[in-house]
Every structure is written in C-alpha cells, then in structure tokens.
C-alpha cells in the first residue's frame, strides 16, 4: 500500500499506542484509534507489498506467509507456513480466504448449552453492530436474504460460483440440504467506501486469493482499514520486528524494542497492543515474561477441525478458477441428534495445484505411479470441507522450544490434538461430506484430515486466574498492555475467525478509548 506520504513519529516521542501486527486484529483498531486523534504507530514484521506485484504463483506467495519455522507436536500436529499466519503490511489477511460467515450466537454460550467447552465473556448481540460496520466497510458479497441469518445484509451480490460450488449445490439440492452462495469479503462489483481508501475493482475470478490478491478485490487490511488509518495520521512501519519492551518500576510498558534494517530501535509509548496472532503474540509474551503470572499464556491453543473430502468427477471442474469457496451450508451448526457439542460449517473447495498436490502426497499418502497419475486428474477433482468447533483443552498448548531463531528468540512449539468432542464432530462431518460428494457423482473419494487457523493462547475472561485478558482485551496483569487478535478466543466458534477478529478489533478499540481517557 502507499505509505509514502504517511505521518512520522519520532521514536523519542511517547506515542499513545504501539500496535504490533497489521492483520485482522491490528488493522481495524489502528484506524479507530487514529480516527479518535491518538498518536499510533504500527509495527509490522513483514514488508510493505504492492499487490500489483503478486505473481499468480504458489511458491512466489511464500513472501506473504510466515515461514519462520514452528515446531508442531501433539496427536494431530498442525501444519503452519502457507496454512496460517502471514507476513507483510496486512498480516494474514494478505493470504486469507476471505470466507466470512458470522459466528453463530449459540457458539458464544456453548458451556451453558452443552456443559462442554466454555462460554465467551461477551454476547453475540454485542458483536452484531461491529459485524455490520466491518462488512459495510470491507465490502462483503453474498446472498441477501441469507438463509441462516435473516438480519444479515450483504452490500454486494454474490461472486460467481465455480465448478466445486456447482457440484455441491446440485448435490445439496438433491439431499434437501440448504446451500447457497458463500459470504465472501471479495467485492463482486467495483467498490468505493471512503475517499481515503482507493477504489477496488471487481473480482476477476483468478482463483489466487491465497496467494495475494493482485486486483485488491479481496478485502485485506492493506486495501481497507490501513489506508484509512494512514489517512487519519497513523504511522505504519514495515519490516519492523518487535522483540522487546522496556518497563518502569510499576511494570508498565514504557517502550517497545524492534529490529529494523539490521539494528534495534526503541519506540516510547504509553500503551502496547499486541495483534501478532495466536502464535507470535503468546511467543512474545513468553519470551518477555509479560503477563505470564497466571500461567495462562500459551494455554488452550485451538485450531479448527478442517477436514476435507475430495473426489473425481466426469465433468471438467477446473477448480483453480473463481472464488475458491463459493458455496456454503450452515445446516450443521447444530446437527440434529449430534453426539457432540457445537457444530460446523461446510464449504465447497477449489484449491491451487501445489497446495492440493501437497495434501494428496502427505495426507492421502500416495506415491509412485498412483501419485503421478492422480496429479494428472487435477482438472477433474473438487473438494468440500468443513470448519468445525474446537474446544479448549489442557493438552493443547504453545510453549517455547530450546531452538532459537535468527533474533535469538526461542521458536514456538505448538502441541495440538483433538479431544473426543472433535473426534465425534469430525466423524459426523466426514459422513455428511461423503454423502454430499457421492450425491454429486464423485468417484475415488478420499478424506484429508486437516487442522486450520491459530486461536487461543491468551484467552479473554473475567477471572484473572483462568484468562490472560479481560473481556475488552486488556491484560489482567500489565495495566497498559492489550491484546487484539485470535489469541483472545476462549473457544474456536464454528465460523472462520477473521471477520470476528475484525469485529472484536473495533470493539476493543472502543473499549480502549473509553477505558484510557
């Protein structure tokens, strides 16, 4: 994005807030705080990209993924890299799928409902106005009316359906399952929302959402909230990697230390808001021994059950074309007769070839001529996948390994495994997806076990002994430290998380302004 004319703050000036991370957690909040007249500086570890320079290539797209090594353990180790965190001004929204279901109201009080998991300390109704604001600003496309949420209105009509979506739609129709165009934070028409945010052209259906959107049709923070923040006098420093803080005798943070251009810089500040995601945020806290008194930092790491079912079709699918997940059903948020708490969403899947082939080779276990032959079926395969509730669990935890990175910081080690609730949910979903794909006419059906997203580790709650931040995002232990990203999630919710993180970001910004002035 264009940062050439942005405001500059001196590192000696005590700015009101340093925000670390410019993704879904940091972006909206940065714009809100700047609009309120605060002096805000955002530190982004990655570069500032020009979207026009993205290459339409999965390997080139490594530049927007967080590819510093993480260690994965537990009974269902999660893949990182391309699968999850991002780097660059915009954070992981540079590569996110822009699939924007809202969280289901029931997911916020799961424990009350089922006795499993935990309730959120906030209510869905409280988030609705923030969802509305986010969607109007980033430009969501989808079907109005939306079958599972009468109140939801999309500012733009749905994006084109692709092959996998057509296959899923006809199968669902046959099986009596409600399915419709996906809610997508991709503009289906040319879109202008604010004079300080450059116009975004309609989606061209290139299919490379996860490799960086060249046309800016996809709502990443660098084409939405961050230009607004800069227009409101925020400063964004790219390639600025935070790794330290200074604190006063009372324990308040007085400055942030970051590495940029090969040397350390010190930005004085009155408040720090960490928005580095559910791996780097707790990693920083553990590294700096910040807010670790309750022993909660790093605990309750959660992902989503993200199993996929694949099949081969008589039709030419060409699944790389179009918005990748252009069909959804929310019929399984509370499946009838389910033997598990919570639920899941189902979406159609088109996947670019490297990602797909990597899944085939690793997850299906194919090798030899069977692998070569199956890869050649690329244009005839299509997938269907879920995003399913994952409950917090003591065994799922982020810790620091003994290995260090280039900055001397210990690498993150993430242990993750399904509990019995996830296993039961997964079995149910796999059966449903198989039925749908059989009804769609798929042959050679196989199941890819998969975990997605990074959540938890600094959960919000009212009790300082069992949570890291309060329901507004403020640290229980360090008075001028706030957290705003997926790490504050107490449980995963069935919905893909980024839209909810953005809504929380606006909400935390409001609470910050109220609570600190």
């Amino acid at each position: 994005m264009n940062l050439s004319g942005q405001n500059r703050y001196s590192t000696d000036e005590v700015v009101d807030v340093v925000v670390v991370g410019t993704g879904a957690g940091g972006g909206p909040l940065l714009a809100e705080l700047a609009a309120a007249g605060l002096k805000v500086v955002a530190l982004e570890a990655g570069p500032n990209f020009d979207p026009a320079g993205y290459g339409f290539d999965e390997t080139l797209a490594d530049e927007i993924y967080w590819t510093e090594e993480r260690l994965s353990g537990g009974s269902t180790p999660e893949a990182f890299g391309a699968n999850n965190s991002g780097t660059g001004v915009g954070g992981s929204t540079l590569h996110w799928g822009a699939f924007v279901p809202r969280a289901d109201p029931r997911d916020f009080r799961l424990n009350t409902e089922s006795g499993e998991g935990c309730d959120w300390p906030i209510d869905h109704a409280e988030l609705v106005p923030f969802y509305d604001r986010v969607e109007a600003f980033i430009g969501t496309s989808g079907p109005t009316p939306y079958p599972w949420d009468e109140a939801r209105r999309f500012p733009l009509p749905p994006v084109l359906r692709n092959g996998p979506a057509q296959l899923m739609a006809s199968a669902c129709d046959r099986l009596g399952i409600t399915a419709t165009d996906a809610p997508a934070a991709v503009v289906s028409r040319d879109f202008t929302v604010d004079p300080s945010v450059p116009e975004r052209k309609a989606c061209i259906h290139c299919g490379f959402c996860h490799q960086g959107c060249r046309t800016r049709a996809k709502a990443s923070m660098d084409v939405t909230y961050l230009p607004l923040a800069v227009a409101r006098s925020a400063e964004i420093r790219a390639e600025a990697r935070m790794h330290g803080v200074e604190r006063d005798k009372a324990g308040r943070i007085t400055a942030v230390i970051y590495r940029s251009g090969g040397r350390d810089h010190r930005q004085r500040c009155a408040h720090l808001i960490l928005c580095a995601g559910a791996v780097e945020t707790p990693r920083l806290l553990l590294h700096l021994d910040l807010a670790t008194g309750s022993g909660q930092v790093g605990r309750n790491y959660i992902g989503h059950v993200a199993t996929q079912v694949w099949g081969t079709f008589a039709d030419e699918v060409g699944m790389n074309r179009g918005y990748p997940s252009s069909l959804i059903t929310e019929d399984y948020t509370r499946p009838e007769g389910a033997d598990f708490a919570g639920g899941y969403l189902v979406q159609s899947l088109g996947v670019e070839p490297l990602t797909w082939a990597n899944s085939v080779a690793r997850g299906r276990g194919l090798w030899g001529p069977a692998l070569t032959d199956y890869l050649r079926q690329y244009n005839r395969v299509a997938g269907i996948g879920i995003n399913g509730e994952t409950l917090p669990c003591d065994a799922n935890v982020l810790t620091l390994s003994q290995e260090t990175d280039a900055l001397g910081m210990r690498k993150a080690r993430i242990d993750f495994g399904y509990g019995s609730n996830e296993d039961r949910l997964n079995a149910h979903a796999t059966k449903v997806m198989r039925e749908i794909w059989e009804a769609a006419g798929a042959t050679d059906i196989w199941v890819l076990e998969r975990v997605a997203h990074t959540l938890g580790t600094c959960r919000m709650g009212r009790n300082p002994d069992t949570s890291v931040v309060d329901p507004q995002g403020r640290s229980h232990e360090v008075e001028n430290l706030w957290i705003c990203d997926g790490s504050v999630f107490p449980s995963s919710l069935a919905a893909n998380p980024a839209l909810t993180i953005m809504a929380l970001s606006l909400r935390t910004a409001g609470a910050f302004l109220k609570g600190t002035r």
Binding site: D62, I204, R321, R362, L375
Partner: protein, 467 residues
C-alpha cells in the same frame, strides 16, 4: 570426453564471426573456435543470403576446407543454431564430409519449426533494414539492446551494431521471410548427436520454454542450461559462463535427454501476454539446474535421487532433477514454516533418513539403495512409510521415518509443480490469469463446470485425459 575439438561457430541474424571472439579467447586450448560468416553477413556481406539449406552448404564447404583431423562440433547462436541442426541431420544421414561431428552447442537457437515471432515485429525489422542511415543506426542500436539482458561492454556493443549495419539487407530479409519460417521438423527428426542447449531467462520468443518445447524434442541426448539474467546474444553476454558450460559438455557429454520437455501449447501460454513478467521469469529460472550450494553427502544425494524416482516417477524423456533442487533448498536453510517437533532440522533429517534407507538396502540386498531394482526400492520405501525399517545409530527412528517420508512426498510434489513441466503435466492454465497490466487483468470470465475459454483450449487439449 571430447578431446580438443574444433568448434565451428555460427552467428545470429545480423551478427558475424566476430561475435565469437570473447568466447574463443576464454575457451583457450579446450576447443579451437573457427567462426564462420554466414552468407550475407560479416565479411560475406556481398552475398545476398539464402535459405537454411544454402547456409548449411556454405558451412559444410568451410568445414571440409578446414579438414579437422579430430572431432569437431558446431555452435550456433539463434539463426546459426538452425543451420547447425540441418548440418547435424546431414551428418547422421551419413554425409562423409561431416563424419567427425561430435556435438552441438545451441545458444538461444532458432528451432526446427517456423520461429515463433510476432508478425508486427517481423514486418518492422524488414522495413527498417532498408531505411535511411540514421533510422538504420537507431534501429540497429535498439535491436542489439533489446537482445541482451544487461548492456554489453561499449566495445562489444559498438562492434555488434556495426555488424548489423554491414549485413546485406537481402540476406536479412531472406532469413526473416524465408529461413526463419522454414519447417525442418520432419527433416531434423530426432538427432542422436549430444547437444548442449542454452537459453536466456530474459530472452523473448526463444527463451527457456521455447527451447524446451521446440528444440529439445529433436535431441535424444541433451542438456538444457538456463542462463539467468541473460537474453539472446549469449556468446557476447556470457562468454565466461558459455566457456565453462562447453568445457563441462566436452568432459561429459549427455548420454540421454536430461531436461524435461514442455508441450508447445504450455510454452506458448507461458510466453504470452496473459502471463506476467515476474511469473514468466520465475518459471524460467526454475528450469535452471541449481548449482549449489548443496548440503547432502554424495551418498545421500544418490539415494534421494533414486527415492524420488520412485516417489514421483516422471515418464520422460528428460525429467526435473528434484533431488538437486531439494538439496539446494536444504542448503539454503529456508523452509515451509514448520516441521514435526519430533524430527531434527530438515537437512539433518534428510541426511539421516537417507542413511537409514541406504543401510536397510545394504542389509537386505548387499547393494546401495540407488543400485537396487524398482521393486526392491519400492519395498523398502513401503517399509519406511509404515515405520518398519530397523533403527541405526546415524539414522532416524522407525516412527520418524514415517514422518520424514511424508515430508519428502510433500516436498517432491511441491518442487515438481513449481516447475513449468509439472504445471503443464497437470494441464494448469492458472498462470494465464493476467499479465503486467495490473489495472486490466483478464482473470477468468468462465468459472463453471465444463466451461473453457479459447485461450485455455490448447493447453487443456495437450493434457488429453484431464479437463
């Protein structure tokens, strides 16, 4: 090993024998260069030029006159390469005067088929060669500049421009309207003579993808080298690198087709305006064989090569050297962002896993893994996958072999599909989603089942069974 041969050198359109001076100096005693002015160019500019066969006659006469006592080779740059191919065919057909041909060196060569070239550019080149002196000089300067990846030295540039200006306009036009368009595919057929093919990653129509699609299929024994940062006038741009490549070629000529071919339809898409320059250049550079640094031991590399041939078999002719690319990746220390906590860092995991595999082969069969037959290799890999190979001091524990074998399968396919030949093999058209005009990217208009856009059609048809 080809011992101290003579290298007959044939220049590009508008060039002359002088093109080869820098390379000749650097080759020294490894090969004696005899550079020839083709009819209509250089000191032979009084000649009106001719078709490919006539040029081949001219060169054959010079070779006969030279009468080399030992083996000899022909090097050709661009236009000269097509003449070289024609002479190689005569050699293989038993022409006694050409009996000593031991190899071809084709640099940014014009292929046996009609040369891919935009009609507009062809017409412009035909027009300016007969223009007024001022225009001719301006265009000749532009022509030379457009065909190099980075500016030549002022002397080389000036000499090359002078060569273009002293070319016989009739010979220039004869090539553009005749020789370049001649279809020699059937006549050339498949040549047995070993060939070194060099392409420039910054070249226009005759870059790496065109060579892999249009020239390599005619060569049974070839090595394809991509010169990163160089364009079309390779002997002038990269004399040191070309000399090194030729020396290595003479020391060990290729025994088989080493590099993968590309379907012409995919190469044409790759070269088209639908593909952005960054992607095209990247894809071309991925066709280059990495030259290190590497980190695996020689034994481990050999085992990995054999292992990958079984994990992801490539039908050929020619194949992507996945092991070489993975070894370079391991040495670079970059990764995909995570690893199983139980595995050691990637390079160490590979070395130890490959040691385990090789030791198991020696225990079971008394031979290295790489020396085993396919079914024996497969049986060992199946045991690695199921965690059933015996543990050894320098190796990986059985359950870690299972993890590593998952890693290597993933890395094999990711490396394969980063290469244009891999993407072509699966019929991928996504590279064509848009070129350099960020404000007017075409993307896909059609995204539904059984819908093809006209530009996708040729690529999809070459895959046959897919889409």
């Amino acid at each position: 090993m080809i011992d101290e041969p003579v290298l007959f050198c044939l220049h590009f359109l508008g060039g002359s024998a002088r093109e080869w001076r820098p390379l000749s100096e650097r080759l020294g005693p490894a090969a004696r260069c005899v550079a020839i002015d083709l009819p209509g160019f250089g000191d032979a500019a009084d000649h009106p030029g001719g078709d490919v066969a006539a040029m081949a006659d001219h060169v054959a006469a010079r070779i006969e006159a030279e009468g080399p006592s030992g083996p000899w080779l022909i090097a050709g740059n661009s236009m000269g390469a097509k003449v070289a191919l024609a002479l190689a065919r005569r050699h293989e057909d038993g022409d006694p005067a050409l009996a000593g041909l031991a190899g071809l060196v084709l640099m940014a060569g014009s292929p046996p088929c009609p040369e891919p070239m935009a009609e507009e550019r062809r017409r412009a080149m035909i027009a300016w060669i007969d223009a007024d002196p001022e225009t001719r000089r301006r265009e000749a300067e532009a022509f030379v500049s457009a065909n190099v990846g980075a500016p030549l030295s002022p002397e080389d540039h000036a000499r090359t421009v002078e060569d273009v200006l002293r070319a016989n306009p009739d010979a220039w036009k004869a090539w553009l309207t005749g020789g370049a368009n001649e279809d020699w595919r059937d006549r050339i057929g498949l040549l047995r003579v070993p060939a070194l093919v060099v392409s420039g990653a910054q070249d226009g129509d005759l870059g790496p993808e065109a060579q892999a699609a249009l020239t390599l299929p005619h060569l049974a024994r070839h090595r394809h080298v991509v010169a990163v940062g160089a364009a079309h006038l390779l002997p002038l741009e990269r004399p040191d690198e070309m000399a090194e490549l030729i020396r290595a070629f003479l020391a060990a000529p290729p025994e088989e087709a080493e590099a993968p071919l590309l379907p012409p339809a995919f190469a044409a898409l790759m070269g088209s305006e639908r593909v952005n320059t960054r992607l095209r250049t990247t894809l071309r550079e991925r066709m280059r064989e990495p030259d290190g640094p590497f980190c695996l031991s020689a034994e481990a590399r050999a085992t990995l090569t054999a292992c990958l041939d079984r994990v992801l078999p490539q039908p050929g002719p020619g194949r992507i050297d996945l092991a070489r690319r993975i070894d370079a990746r391991l040495a670079s220390g970059t990764g995909d962002g995570w690893r199983f906590v139980t595995l050691p860092p990637d390079a160490e995991a590979y070395e130890r896993a490959l040691c385990t595999l090789d030791a198991a082969a020696r225990d079971a069969h008394g031979r290295a893994f790489a020396a085993l037959g396919a079914s024996e290799q497969d049986a060992l890999l199946a045991r690695a996958a199921s965690g059933d190979l015996p543990e050894r001091p320098d190796g990986l524990a059985p359950d870690l072999m299972t993890c590593w074998f998952e890693e290597v399968r993933g890395e094999a396919v990711r490396t394969f599909l980063a290469h244009p030949a891999g993407l072509a093999a699966i019929g991928f058209t996504g590279i064509g989603a848009g070129g350099d005009e960020a404000e007017a990217l075409p993307g896909y208009r059609l995204t539904g089942l059984n819908e093809r856009e006209p530009w996708e059609q040729p690529v999809l048809e070459t895959v046959g069974d897919a889409r």
